[in-house]
């Protein structure tokens, strides 16, 4: 995954630990940009529909938006080409 995606993953981690003052609009941007950088837009759309019951990120807020942040952080981390010894099979 790109440095941009890694940057976004760090942004999500920061948002999850320092929520005060972070707007829902900012969280939506981070989720969308991370999904795009990880090429996981279709997975995100499916997850939103099946798990939250929403067709659009714009329609969710609060705890559901935080769930979406956690979801896309997990997905982005797995799609990241890891340099910490957990490299993907077949890619070394």
């Amino acid at each position: 995954m790109s440095r941009r995606a890694e940057y976004l993953e760090r942004q999500i981690t920061r948002l999850m630990t320092d929520r005060v003052g972070v707007s829902d609009a900012r969280k939506r941007v981070i989720v969308q940009e991370t999904a795009r950088a990880a090429h996981a837009e279709l997975l995100l759309t499916y997850w939103l529909r099946e798990t939250i019951g929403a067709d659009d990120l714009e329609r969710i807020s609060g705890a559901d938006l935080d769930r979406a942040l956690r979801y896309i952080r997990t997905v982005a981390a797995m799609l990241q080409e890891r340099a910490d010894g957990r490299r993907a099979v077949g890619e070394s």
Binding site: H39, A40, L42, L43, V75, L79, R86, R87, A88, G90
Partner: protein, 150 residues
């Protein structure tokens, strides 16, 4: 019982259940989600996707109509993202061999799997067909698995 694996061909799977044909077509056209978004989207509901690592194959996706979801429930399936697999270690070790094989070889695997699985505290003999195939998300190669009960 342990886990019994019978090796099949893609044509065997297509002949036993028509739901495998769209996955076979997706694979034969390159298996690239970004290049075939409609085909990929149509498969997502039944698909399970894994990101094989040296130390496991965590779930990237578990469709609401996958066999795992049908067995253990939709909430359980939705909660599998990022998890290393089911709690039955012997079962996971066996089925993950196919995921790793596909990740390394880049070739699909067709199987009939029969295993004893505990669901809600009760032991069940479960038998299903599976097509495990490589696919690409962006620049990342992952492993997809389409299963149907036999």
């Amino acid at each position: 019982m342990g886990v019994r694996i019978e090796t099949l061909t893609l044509d065997d799977l297509a002949g036993r259940n028509s739901i495998f044909q769209p996955a076979i077509d997706f694979h034969r056209l390159g298996g690239h989600a970004g290049q075939q978004p409609k085909r990929f989207e149509a498969l997502l509901d039944r698909l399970q996707i894994f990101a094989p690592m040296r130390d496991g194959c965590p779930y990237l996706h578990c469709g609401a109509n996958s066999t795992t979801s049908e067995l253990f429930g939709r909430d359980f399936a939705a909660g599998l993202v990022g998890e290393p697999g089911l709690s039955d270690e012997a079962f996971e070790r066996t089925v993950q061999m196919a995921y790793h094989h596909v990740a390394v070889s880049g070739r699909p695997v067709s199987q009939r799997v029969t295993a004893g699985l505990t669901v809600d505290g009760l032991k069940h003999i479960v038998s299903y067909y599976q097509m495990v195939f490589p696919m690409t998300l962006g620049s990342k190669r992952v492993v997809a698995c389409l299963t149907r009960f036999s």
